[in-house]
């Protein structure tokens, strides 16, 4: 796997372009920096300065090559590349708290923004007025919406929020699309309709992800659990209480396997057993470097005893690739159905690209279904 340290500060959020040659990220300030890969190096090619508050979400639409960013200044901007300059268009979200996350829909004709105003803004472009218009989904969200993910049918939207619940809403906008055909989540999908609401969590839902087919949705929450709802099983929820610190990001890599990462600084594999309806921990995905085991001299042992009151030889540094919590995972190649590469960014300012094939061969017990 490849690790690149971009900054010393946390990377707030990131997004990749279609051919994965450029990455847009927020270096924990009001700007968005775009880096391009030049062989083995990354060079900064653009700086997008328009937000007045920290940029909390970035999404790059692969086909139309537009960026959407949202920030704590309660605004969102849609950026289009004109020549060699990114030009912003302001989108009025009509929210009175910070925006927290943003996602383009699969067809890129609308995007959703989750905010601290306890609502989701669905924004679409109105041709007559040449202006982005937004509609709100409010009920029954009771707290900040932390994460969003679209269903492949371009209509259903999963939202994880701080009121401990994962919900699936319909974000059907009749101005831009046809009526959707029935899905396992339901057949009547007027705008704002609640298709599914979870009940099990005791923690903020940090991240949520639809599977490639859209029949399953998985989320991670702050009480160190990972849950999955399967629409084909009448929306039965399988949950797993992990032994790790809370996870902050999750994605499907096949229809049955998930990769999640969080405050433990390494990604881990989870597998969903459809027959039993259960989730199991599949293994840690970080390959620690073999540190040279040198014996402690008597002097060092005494120093350890003096400083730390123990003669333990374990060192205080992490032996994972990321040196701080991982806050976001994105699929690079293969899509969510057959992911072959994924990328993680974290609070250590670093970005790491993980190759699924080499992980499978390096960690012998790994079984990705």
């Amino acid at each position: 796997m490849a690790y690149h340290s971009f900054l010393l500060e946390p990377i707030s959020c990131h997004a990749w372009n279609k051919d994965r040659t450029q990455i847009a990220l927020c270096p924990n300030n009001h700007e968005v920096h775009i880096y391009r890969k030049d062989g083995a190096r990354w060079s900064k090619v653009h700086e997008l300065k328009e937000h007045n508050g920290q940029v909390t979400g970035i999404d790059w639409a692969p086909e139309s090559n537009r960026l959407v960013t949202c920030g704590t200044d309660r605004n969102a901007y849609v950026w289009t590349l004109k020549g060699n300059v990114w030009k912003p268009t302001l989108v009025i979200l009509r929210i009175n708290r910070a925006a927290r996350c943003v996602k383009w829909s699969p067809k890129e004709n609308k995007f959703a923004v989750g905010s601290g105003s306890r609502l989701i803004s669905i924004c679409y472009f109105e041709q007559e007025n040449d202006w982005w218009v937004c509609k709100h989904i409010k009920k029954p969200i009771r707290s900040t919406v932390l994460s969003l993910d679209w269903h492949p049918n371009n209509v259903l939207l999963a939202a994880g929020s701080c009121d401990f619940k994962c919900r699936i809403f319909s974000a059907y906008i009749k101005e831009v699309e046809e009526r959707p055909s029935p899905t396992p989540w339901g057949s009547k999908m007027p705008f704002g309709e609640l298709m599914f609401e979870s009940s099990s969590s005791c923690g903020w839902v940090h991240s949520i992800c639809f599977s490639a087919s859209g029949a399953r949705v998985a989320w991670v929450s702050h009480d160190s659990t990972l849950c999955l709802a399967d629409a084909n099983k009448k929306m039965a929820v399988a949950s797993l209480c992990t032994e790790t610190l809370p996870l902050l990001a999750v994605t499907f890599i096949t229809e049955n396997s998930l990769v999640a990462a969080g405050h433990d600084c390494y990604p881990m594999l989870f597998t969903y057993e459809e027959g039993q309806g259960s989730l199991t921990f599949g293994g840690k995905l970080d390959v620690p470097k073999q540190s040279s085991q040198r014996g402690l001299t008597a002097r060092e042992r005494f120093q350890n005893l003096d400083k730390k009151a123990s003669s333990d030889t374990s060192n205080a540094t992490l032996d994972t690739v990321h040196k701080n919590s991982i806050s976001q995972i994105s699929v690079l190649a293969g899509g969510k159905a057959n992911c072959s590469q994924f990328c993680t960014t974290g609070m250590d300012g670093g970005m790491s690209i993980w190759d699924v094939k080499s992980l499978e061969s390096a960690l012998k017990d790994l079984k990705i279904k």
Partner: protein, 109 residues
């Protein structure tokens, strides 16, 4: 309680954990349950703690962790030392996730 006296600490532990989940929310019953739980935990010999912890399932470990932390809140003569031993063994099985779930739980014991 009688099982505890009869010396089968392991069975008493399982019984206490089972009855904990059926409790009403009133503070008195909670107090009583905490007291019983503490007595059961103190009744174990240090060498038996690990075996007892291994006999619990995931939910049992989470519940045990909740009681351990509740016990820390009101320390008595010898309780903290024994509870620390329980904590070490429960942590080995439940991991940091079990502690996180104590902190985030909506229904306290």
């Amino acid at each position: 309680d009688s099982q505890r006296r009869s010396g089968d600490a392991l069975r008493a532990l399982h019984a206490a954990l089972r009855s904990a989940t059926r409790l009403a929310a009133s503070p008195d019953t909670k107090e009583q349950a905490q007291g019983t739980m503490l007595k059961v935990l103190m009744a174990f010999k240090s060498s038996e703690i690990e075996q007892a912890v291994n006999s619990l399932d995931g939910n049992g470990i989470d519940l045990l962790m909740k009681y351990i932390y509740k016990g820390f809140e009101k320390p008595t003569e010898n309780s903290s030392a024994i509870l620390l031993q329980w904590h070490e063994k429960a942590l080995a099985v439940g991991g940091l996730g079990a502690i996180v779930r104590v902190l985030t739980a909506r229904k306290t014991v």
